[in-house]
Amino acid sequence: MARLVVLGGGVSGHTAATFAAKWLGSAHEVVVVTPNAKWNWIPSNIWVGVGQMSKEEVTFDLAPVYAKAGITYKQAKALSLNPEGNATSNKPFVTVEFTAAGKEGTTENIEYDYIINATGPKLNFGATPGLGEGSNLGEHTVSVCTADHAVHASHELEKCIQKMKKGERQKFLIGTGHGMCTCQGAAFEYIFNIEHELNRAGVRDMADIKWISNESFLGDFGVGGLHMKTMGYAVSSKIFAESLFTERGVDWIIGAHVNKVESGKAHYELLDGTMGEEEFNFSMLIPPFAGVGLKAFDKAGEDITATVFAPNGFMKVDANYAAGAYENWKASDWPKTYQNPTYSNMFACGIAFAPPHPISKPMSSPNGTPINPTPPRTGMPSGIIGKAVAHSICDRILKGENAPLHEASMANMGAACVASAGKGLFNGTAAAMTIYPVVPDFEKYPGTGRDTDYTFGEIGLAGHWIKHILHHLFIWKAKLKAGWTLIPE
């Protein structure tokens, strides 16, 4: 009997674990290690953050789902990896610390034959002074990164709405809280959902809403922007985004590295080297991401973290980390199998793998501060990668160690994104976009590096309906209800 351990139960880890359990059957064991008791459909946190959904609607208990799937579930966080075993055993193992009530702090070594690192990111609030401490959100801003954060954000938003109803003008600052953030899309959704809710509450005229981000142009979204082919024209996401911001009366600051947050004030540095500050009454600033801080040790107990993980804490996989300058970047730099180059039974997927370089153009201020989005790994690519990795491991377990690995390069993968701009059955809006490939391939598609025939976008009510249907569809799939395998990632 082989044992596959999956670290993390987010979109990528949950997809990998559930498919692996289905393909391996009861002859082999799948273990999921995740510190959370609940699964969270993170894209819908946006709606929790504006009070349009409850926490219960975007989460569910993992234990019964894993029990149904025959997966061993350990509510714990991974601390370290010993890919060569230790002095007493050659069997690789992962050390975990339990987080479940009654077992907090106790540790266990879980041996494995294969391991998938799908821990997701550490929300690195501590990277920006005032934004938070370590992975904990600070007191000056709100976040929608977790369901609990989103509930807190909706309460703060409601307080602002009450103040505006009493005639007190409020300033909203939404965007990225550091020069090296990703997830601009989530902030984009949140700012327009707030704008929509303020309209609904009848206080829009009392609000000044401003966007702040590390993108070098509006509509970069961490993928270097895109050209959406619609009605025969290729419209840049910059023009699309600027039109939307102008139409909704939302001002913007771009090319910004937020370097300090105080009560009611954010300080930032721009790409042209100038410094500025922006006051706010309500602010949601996405933190930068980092690896969760997993350590790795060899058989002798020596620290080999730098061998297994990149400096940012994400796991090294089959990517070209020596691509160098922007002009040398190629689609082929991006990983295909997500296998660790040192230990062939270790894989990483979702946000946990170390990308070879950003997708957006690297930029820095004259002061040397890097200010550019880091590559996003949204739900669709994360799910596809998780499934491909699970497929590879299952093949190796069932067909032998030489079974070929499955590939899922983001340079050969398209992605669909539906970004909400307001929730409502009849007045909701969402921008539906597809992009192919996610990572531009300048050799295959000279120019933008993308195939504009498969890159298009549209904004409207239908987009909102799709977003809402997807919410129910993906929670259905994650709960492993009837027909879950038929629902695409």
Binding site: F217, H227, G232, A234, S236, G255, W329, M363, S364, T452
Partner: protein
């Protein structure tokens, strides 16, 4: 080499621009050719996009004849608003009032790839913003206000920058009369439906009379509409003669609906 500048109606955004990644002789030759093109056409600036290249390059001609070469420019910060009348080589002989940022700060790279920043205001600011729009595949059209866009599209139709004080609107006051006529006709039809459930002769008689009164109202509304609509159409010099066709058509449709519902009512509602 002087390059051909793409002009309307070649769609500008079917092509698109992308950042310069490799700073090599191809790029330098393109920049040199763009300089020649600017001089030959007496332009104040040019985006590579305008000459059919997808590279994100802008050239601005200084008063002393030298050039500012901006590769991969990004508009980083803005301040204030300004509305000026702009012309661009893409729309020869045409102009439009465009609202822009008054003061801007941009970052860009030079031929060697080194990054610089530039602050601009007034005419240079407007010129840079227009050229940066090109590098993202757009003319100034999406920047125009609704009214100005309608005016500019009229200018495009005429092919010249003629003074057009107003445009033919898409909605008129006469539309209210059409709406009134439709509402009255719907009421007549509703009475017809109600009459199907009524058998008392006295009641049917009063329903038929009501329908008759309403039908006179529809008739009168259409007569007023027919004459007022023509008067209103003439007050817009840019409205074309096809307006009369619309007016006649609308009147005929309205009266046909009235006739149909009244014929049905005559046989089913009228008790006499």
């Amino acid at each position: 080499m002087i390059l051909e500048i793409k002009k309307y109606p070649t769609p500008p955004s079917v092509q698109y621009a992308t950042d310069v990644r490799v700073f090599d002789q191809n790029i330098f030759s393109l920049i040199d050719n763009m300089e020649e093109t600017i001089n030959a056409n007496n332009l104040d600036g040019l985006a590579a996009f305008q000459v059919g290249s997808y590279y994100n390059i802008i050239l601005i001609k200084n008063e002393d004849g030298t050039f500012i070469e901006l590769l991969n420019p990004r508009l980083i910060s803005t301040n204030g608003k300004i509305t000026t009348t702009e012309k661009t080589a893409y729309f020869p002989n045409l102009s439009a009032a465009v609202q822009r940022h008054d003061k801007i700060s941009i970052v860009y790279q030079d031929r060697s790839g080194a990054q610089h920043s530039l602050q601009a205001d007034g005419a240079l600011s407007v010129l840079l913003q227009r050229k940066i729009d090109y590098t993202f595949g757009s003319t100034f059209l999406p920047k125009l206000s609704k009214d100005e866009k309608a005016r500019f599209e009229k200018k495009l139709e005429f092919g010249a920058d003629v003074a057009i004080s107003e445009v033919c609107p898409t909605t008129f006051k006469r539309d209210y009369l059409t709406k009134l006529s439709n509402i009255l006709t719907i009421i007549i039809a509703a009475i017809f439906v109600v009459s199907l459930f009524v058998s008392e002769v006295e009641m049917l008689s009063s329903l038929w009379k009501t329908q008759l009164y309403f039908s006179y109202g529809v008739l009168a509304t259409n007569i007023i509409y027919f004459f007022y609509a023509q008067y209103e159409g003439k007050s817009y010099s840019s409205c074309t003669s096809c307006q009369i066709g619309n007016i006649v058509g609308t009147t005929v449709i309205s009266l046909t609906k009235l006739t149909l519902v009244m014929i049905l009512s005559y046989f089913f509602v009228n008790p006499f």
